[in-house]
Amino acid sequence: MSVGLDENTSIIDIGRESRIPRPGHGVRQEGGKGSEPAGITHGGVGSSDRGSLDEHSALCVSGRRPWDSNRLVLDTAARRVGSRSWGSGRGVRSTDGESTRPDTRFGAAADWRPWYPSAAIVRQVADVSPRTRLEPLEIRDRGEPVISPSMHSGDVIRFALALAPVLLFLAALKALDSYKLVSSRTVFTALGAGALAAALCFAVNTWIFWRFSGYQDQYARFGAPVVEEIAKGVYWIFLIATARVAFMADSAICGFAVGAGFALIENISYLHLLQGSNVGIWILRGFGTAIMHGGVAALGAIISAYLLDSRQWRGVRLFAPGLLAAVGLHSSFNQSLQFPVASMVAAVAGLPLILGVVFYFSDQSLRRWLGGKMDRDIDILMMIGSQEFQQSRVGAYLLSLQEAFPPELRGDMLSLLQLTTELSMRAKSDLMLREVGMEVAPDPELESLFAELKYLEKAIGPTGMLAVRPLLAQTPRDLWEMHRLGQGLR
């Protein structure tokens, strides 16, 4: 049997002989009398399994392409052999049948409770696919060459399961953002920040595991969520504190992106550690743990954005509830690792529901703010241009400053008020156009308007700015729209 097996014979041969041919590694007959060196008998698919694989042979002979029926054979073999005990059969057995090398490859994966039947069988059969590698994973994991570069379909599936769900979820969240509050650049930056947080946590967790080796379980349940959520929280807190995000929807997207970046690095590191591990693990990690990382960070950011909007709290108190909620949910997830499927289902089913509600209310809130604030801006504009300006509240306030500031400075204050109002209106009309899906053209005047704004702030000076502050819109959302407009300059 050669390496370049005919597609239709490869599975048949494996089924009949249960041997794993490899280039340079001959196959010895059962009993150890063959002349080829270092033959390996598959620990799982032995002669007793011929029935199931012969069934597959029939499928191949009947003219179906083997890869078409591969999934079927996987299922069939798993069903037939799965009922047997495979607890110790996962090791690689030498052909003389005397020594068994323990399967250390599973490493941490072995810690997972066997919630799925015949995991080893599914894995082993899945990795014996036509036109792909014909050796069990044990050989590959020992660092020996695989047969061809195209023989990693199992790895591709694991990568996809580990990384795709969280990225697709993030893409869906971004698509739901009807006002396009978050740019792709911001999302990528948040992903990077999450990745950085993961690297930091890896170092911290490793040190803590080493330093307090007797408390690893407790740390995983209670300590790690604190460290990880704080590390993730640094970036979404920064975004909210600096008015780069101001609504629940954009906070959710940015928070989720930070968590997604974290989860990507975590899963990539696990992909490296748990090479060749069961696909089930990656379903759990991809749909469960990764979504959880994104979800709890998103919820933390949403809570903080809500508190910011309601103006109930300020400073550290603004972010503490969101961070505590993220830590609490993360810790709860880690407590329920004995029930990974339930945790995964809760994350996958619960989060879209919560985020759907959040996006709905965020859109409502944004629409109200947009309308109300725009009307106030128009009123200010109308008032500045009217004959009754001096009788207005703003005019009266500026007149009250005449003893403290010279007329030219009061003129600059009025110009500043008019300019901030105009910029605010521009930002809102952009949002209005985005809401209905109309394209927003770059504004060539924006640069000069921001230059004028800086000039006026400098001319008025710190004291004058303090005096004029009551007239200027300085809420976090007002600062956000200025920041958003400023982004258009870059």
């Binding site: 947009l370 309308g371 109300g372 604030k373 725009m374 009307d375 128009i378 504009l381 109308m382 241009g385 105009e422 209106m425 521009r426 809102k428 009309s429 209005m432 156009l433 809401e435 209905v436 899906g437 109309m438 053209a441 504004d443």
Partner: protein
């Protein structure tokens, strides 16, 4: 706010007067929708007597323009004055709806 509707060829001219605020902007949007439903895809909005436009009014213009453009038509605005002109310029909606000086020039375009 009052809206007077007239038809010139295959185009509809809507003369809007008064204040377009949150309460009556919906009225303008409905009028536009009924024109679209009747098969007209080009609307000319004469705003010479409009003295005030609120955010809801601006939103109505944008929403109507979007619907018309989706059907291959357009919304044209003419005779902007005073505060309304200023608001359109500041919000740069004059880039989205290039204003015309007269109803005739708006009708002739396209």
């Amino acid at each position: 706010m009052t809206i007077e509707q007239s038809q010139v060829g295959d185009k509809i001219v809507l003369h809007v007067a008064g204040r377009m605020d949150a309460e009556n902007a919906v009225q303008f949007e409905r009028q536009c929708e009924s024109c679209i439903a009747e098969g007209f895809t080009s609307l000319v909005i004469d705003l010479c007597d409009l003295t005030y436009v609120s955010s809801m009014g601006l939103r109505s213009f944008v929403a109507a323009a979007k619907k018309l453009r989706d059907k291959g038509g357009d919304l044209r605005i003419c005779r902007l004055t005073g505060l309304v002109r200023q608001v359109f310029e500041i919000t740069r909606l004059n880039q989205v709806f290039p204003p015309h000086d007269s109803v005739e020039s708006a009708l002739l375009e396209g």
